[in-house]
């Protein structure tokens, strides 16, 4: 009995993390149809933001350092949302309706973000900041000239090398004078660890089993996020606009809905949710620049299995995948076949995290043969739109 409870709880908590990670994707992919391969890296950014917030709050002492996690949630949401909007405004916007290009471009962005986390250091920040200030400053000044359109290419051709040269020299000079303190990356390639606040350590004892508080916290967080999203989409003006634009973009525009703003807001919310998922991920274990990669495939699975554009589908799918992974990975069924050593050994063979994943993906492939549109396929004539 307690084994069953354990299995259910662990499965649900794996599912909760998956769902939290997939929720943002369900919005960006499900509602906007954008395949954002950098979604995992937005999760990673959220996790690193949590780490940074923790380090800022640590020296502040008792009451603050205990509740840093709430500030971290807000900060992670904002950071990821801002990066998401930047991504939408500068890349994705130009690729609407071209899924393959979007996939490639956002994959490129995901690589950039990973490398950014590995190599960001004071030197790096000064270099990039200086370049941006010089280049965009110069272009802003030149663009005031009446003949800007004509000299634009020249201006860019001249300003890029000059800005690069100045930024490189300045950051190198600073690097040589301040040495390691200036050039050492903040995070580096090694993982960083977030320690859960005191009140989240330990667990709730029920019978013989122990439900860790962090897991309970994540389940609660997932529920809050779900309710929040449901409320936002169904009860607010922006939610109504988002639903309208998703279903009929041209007509929505003709009604006076600013579709570009709606796109940016939708993307911001999806990305912000990735940031919150990052917070949860950070509580579960060490965070590195590869953290996002570990989640991106699973989250896409959740959205595809659930049926694109249906939140309820994502919830069911995340729960199912979570429980399945746990049950297979922890060899919960094997012992039931004590009398059949062959069957038992098969279950034991798959009882590792990675083999469990293989089985789950195989099951997903089979499932999609029968239900290609997922658990909750969209009905009606908007499907093709």
């Amino acid at each position: 009995m307690s084994g069953l409870l354990d299995g259910l709880f662990n499965g649900i908590s794996i599912g909760a993390v998956l769902l939290l990670a997939a929720l943002g994707l369900a919005i960006v992919f499900g509602l906007m149809g954008v395949i954002n391969m950098a979604h995992g890296e937005l999760i990673m950014l959220g996790a690193y933001t949590t780490f940074v917030v923790q380090n800022i709050f640590k020296p502040l002492g008792a009451p603050w350092s205990d509740f840093y996690i709430f500030f971290a949630l807000v900060a992670a949401f904002i950071v990821a949302a801002l990066v998401g909007v930047l991504l939408e405004r500068t890349v994705v916007r130009y690729l609407y309706g071209r899924p393959l290009e979007t996939l490639l471009a956002t994959w490129g962005v995901s690589l950039i973000l990973q490398q950014f986390i590995r190599s960001v250091s004071p030197q790096f920040v000064v270099g990039v900041g200086l370049f941006c200030a010089l280049y965009f400053g110069a272009i802003a000044i030149i663009s005031r000239r009446p003949d800007f359109e004509r000299i634009r290419n020249w201006a860019i051709a001249i300003m890029v090398p000059i800005s690069v040269a100045i930024a490189l020299t300045a950051s190198n000079v600073l690097g040589q004078s301040f040495k390691l303190g200036f050039t050492r990356p903040w995070f580096g390639t090694q993982g960083v660890d977030v320690t859960a606040p005191k009140w989240l350590r330990g667990g709730l004892a029920i019978g013989d089993s122990q439900l860790p508080y962090t897991r309970l916290f994540i389940i609660a967080l997932t529920i809050v996020c779900l309710l929040g999203i449901y409320w936002f989409l169904n009860k607010t003006n922006w939610g109504l606009r988002i639903r309208s634009v998703t279903q009929n973009r041209t007509m929505s525009a003709c009604l006076g809905i600013p579709t570009q703003k709606v796109d940016a807001i939708t993307f911001a919310i999806g990305s912000g949710l990735a940031g919150i998922a990052g917070c949860a991920v950070a509580l579960l274990g060490s965070v590195s620049s590869n953290t996002g990669q570990a989640y991106i495939v699973d989250t896409f699975m959740v959205v595809v299995i659930g049926g694109v554009g249906k939140l309820i589908g994502s919830i069911m799918a995340a729960g199912a995948i979570g429980i399945l992974s746990y049950v297979i990975g922890s060899n919960a069924i094997g012992p039931l076949f004590d009398s059949m050593p062959f069957v038992k050994s098969i279950f034991e063979f798959f009882a590792t995290a990675s083999m469990a994943k293989v089985v789950v993906f195989a099951l997903i492939v089979v499932f999609l043969q029968f239900r290609p549109a997922g658990l909750f396929p969209q009905k009606g004539r908007t499907v093709e739109a």
């Binding site: 003006n237 009604l255 809905i257």
Partner: protein, 251 residues
Amino acid sequence: MSYTKSSAAVESSGAIADPMLDITNLNVYYGESHILRNVDFGVASGKMVCLIGRNGVGKTTMLKTIMGLLAPRTGSIQFRGESIVRKSPDQRARLGIGYVPQGREVIPRLTIKENLLLGLEALPGKGQKKEIPEEIFELFPVLKTMLSRMGGDLSGGQQQQLAIARALMGQPKLLVLDEPTEGIQPSIILEIEAAVKRIIKERGISVLLVEQHLHFVRQADWYYAMQKGGIVASGPTRELSQEIIQEFLAV
């Protein structure tokens, strides 16, 4: 031919004293195919103008260009004295152009109420209370009884009434209707006709109508006839001759 040539139409549209909408020398392409050719067109304030023509001559293309869904290659579009060629569809809607497209384009998985509330998006001031004025239900009583039904579940005629009501929610200064009676039974056509006439009378707005149904066409003050993407005849609708009707209306 007895009807006026396009040069005469230019003069007559140029002679509008107080134009709500003024279009000159409009050329629109789909890729490389030339759809609208040198169109001059106008809608006077407080008047109802009807655009007639056979299937596929470019009427919908014209309305889409007015809404900003298609960009003209040349030509100017002035709305209340302001050029709107460079404005996006949502900006045009907020300037006061209400659009009821061919095929209605009701948002299918939103309720009737939500569809109607979306009409308020065209109003400039945000934050006003989100309610549906009683006037809408007086014009279209069917809608009142099914506010919580999904838009996609309505019949064609009900969807058409919803689409017009939705456009009216934004209190447009120019109401653009693309074949509002297409595929609708006669009794509902009369209802829609009466509603449009009542709106014009009560609100004093302009209406641009694309229509095949003769009775409805006759309600307009002025007509333009289109052929192969060009305006080939125009005049007051009371002078609409049997020949023109034969030639331009699929009756």
